[in-house]
């Protein structure tokens, strides 16, 4: 059988499915709160891989189906960039 503890969902921050499920159950929270509590989606890929999975965990734990508003907001920069680029000196 599948061992939820071993299954990594957020690869950047190494957050397991078990950690996400337990946190979501305990706090009955929003996707954003789950992200802040576990750091899932806060790694260097900016949540590109696990964003949907975090939403699914919340859907299952709270029974709320997604609304028209995007559950986990996006913030710039949406790509990893260097400090140099961020400072406007990119050549």
């Amino acid at each position: 059988m599948m061992d939820a503890h071993q299954l990594i969902v957020c690869r950047c921050e190494e957050v397991s499915l078990a950690e996400l499920l337990e946190t979501a159950e305990a706090y009955q929270c929003s996707a954003r709160e789950l992200k802040l509590r576990t750091r899932a989606g806060m790694g260097c890929c900016g949540g590109r891989t696990c964003r949907m999975l975090v939403d699914q965990v919340i859907e299952q734990a709270t029974g709320h189906s997604p609304s028209h508003t995007i559950p986990l907001g996006y913030q710039p920069p949406v790509r990893p960039i260097s400090f140099q680029t961020l400072g406007g000196r990119n050549r």
Binding site: M1, M2, D3, A4, Q6, L7, I8, V9, R11, L17, L21, R48, T49, C50, M52, L53, Q56, V57, Q60, P66, S67, H68, T69, I70, G73, Y74, Q75, P76, P77, V78, R79, I81, T85, G88, N90, R91
Partner: protein
């Protein structure tokens, strides 16, 4: 300051660029990949009428036409932010800021991850990555692989890998879990395959779709389903087998599989390990909406379009002044639909710029999107029309001004 900036050089962005450059606008496209064409680059499949769809050639044609029309194309440039300005939009890119009066976001779709124990081992990749490595970069992904996730896209790409001489041992389902959604339920997978079955090259699936119109027949269908599965182009597709774990020490060595009941639960005692040196995970597609979201565009949640899509009207205008969208960011559909939408967006931008010579051209282009959609050979979801209608209504409601 340019007239139109287009983010994404896929079929939608390139088609839009050609359409509005021909109306006299100054147009620039930026794309983060090193080559123009977007997802077209990896596409190679046979249409039901026997002709081949070669995306690489389509991409080259669009690229040529765009350059001939005076479009400036910059590859290897990522856009990481967009903000409105007094005269339009400013995009922050890895090559500096670009000011434009009109902005089109045509960033396409991204693949949905499906976590399976062991999926962090080297040798595990998304089905789209395997497609790009095989058809674009010509790199052999492995000798013998297993595809986890059965949907229209993974079946099409399995065939492409096979044409490149790579052995696909079998296609199976992911294990049932919170994060695998419906992809782990044989019944749901069978139903979704049957709904697009008129496109399938396999007579077995086509025959099955006639038979299984009602849900009890579908349930019966999955339980009577041959335990060895069926084959398409000699690739075994096993809807009653799931991957429990991808195994290996330093890289993929195999997959632990089990037979599953119609509800996706593994049947005790049926476990075995099959050897493989690569694994592709196929979880479906969803619109890549990040830039539209930071631009402040309102969204609609429409599962048949792949999830959250920016609200837009049939002219591909969002409720934000000067902001347009086209292609898979508005809903996951085939490349031909993306091209037709791109033409609409291009003409619509020309119109917004006061440069559209003949407004009948725009009306025709809008009609053309519907026609192309009806004829599409690859359909990602059976209820696309309803999804499109929902977004149209929300767009009407949001432009009460």
């Amino acid at each position: 300051m340019i007239d139109a900036l287009i983010i994404g050089a896929g079929p939608a962005g390139l088609s839009a660029a050609i359409a509005c450059a021909k109306q006299g606008l100054s147009v620039r496209i930026v794309d983060e990949f090193y080559r123009a064409g977007g997802r077209l680059l990896g596409q190679l499949h046979q249409e039901p009428n026997g002709t081949w769809w070669n995306g690489m050639e389509e991409a080259a044609r669009l690229d040529r036409e765009a350059r001939a029309a005076g479009v400036e194309i910059a590859c290897g440039v990522s856009v990481f932010n967009v903000v409105p300005s007094s005269s339009g939009w400013i995009a922050s890119t890895t090559e500096g800021e670009i000011e434009t009066s009109l902005l089109l976001i045509a960033t396409g779709a991204s693949e949905t991850a499906v976590p399976v124990p062991g999926w962090t081992l080297p040798g595990v990749m998304s089905i789209g990555a395997a497609q790009v490595m095989t058809n674009v970069q010509r790199v052999r992904v492995g000798e013998r692989g297993v595809i986890i996730g059965v949907n229209i896209l993974s079946v099409a790409i399995a065939r492409e890998l096979q044409l490149a001489g790579i052995q696909i041992d079998r296609m199976i389902l992911p294990p049932v879990s919170t994060v695998t959604g419906k992809a782990g339920f044989p019944e749901a997978v069978m139903r979704s395959l049957l709904r697009v079955a008129h496109l399938a090259p396999s007579p077995l699936i086509r025959w099955g779709s006639q038979l299984m119109k009602s849900s009890w027949m579908q349930r019966l269908g999955v339980s009577l389903y041959p335990s060895q599965g069926f084959s398409m182009w000699d690739i075994p597709i096993q809807l009653r087998t799931a991957a429990l774990e991808i195994v290996g020490t330093n890289q993929v060595e195999g997959v632990r599989i089990a037979r599953v009941a119609p509800d996706g639960q593994p049947i005790p005692g049926s476990e075995q390990i099959i050897p493989a040196d690569f694994v592709c995970i196929a979880g479906g597609l969803s619109p890549l909406a990040e830039l539209a979201a930071i631009a402040g565009c309102p969204f609609a949640y429409v599962p048949s379009l792949g999830g959250h899509v920016p609200i837009h009207n049939d002219r591909m205008q969002t409720p934000l002044p000067g902001l347009f969208v086209a292609g898979n960011i508005t809903g996951v559909e085939s490349a031909k639909v993306a091209m037709a939408q791109g033409i609409v967006a291009g003409l619509s931008m020309a119109d917004a710029h006061g440069a559209l010579a003949d407004s009948a051209e725009l009306e025709n282009a809008i009609r053309q999107v519907g026609i192309v959609r009806q004829r599409a050979t690859i359909q990602f979801h059976p209820d696309i029309d309803e999804g499109r209608a929902t977004v149209g209504q929300l767009a009407l409601a949001s432009t009460g001004k």
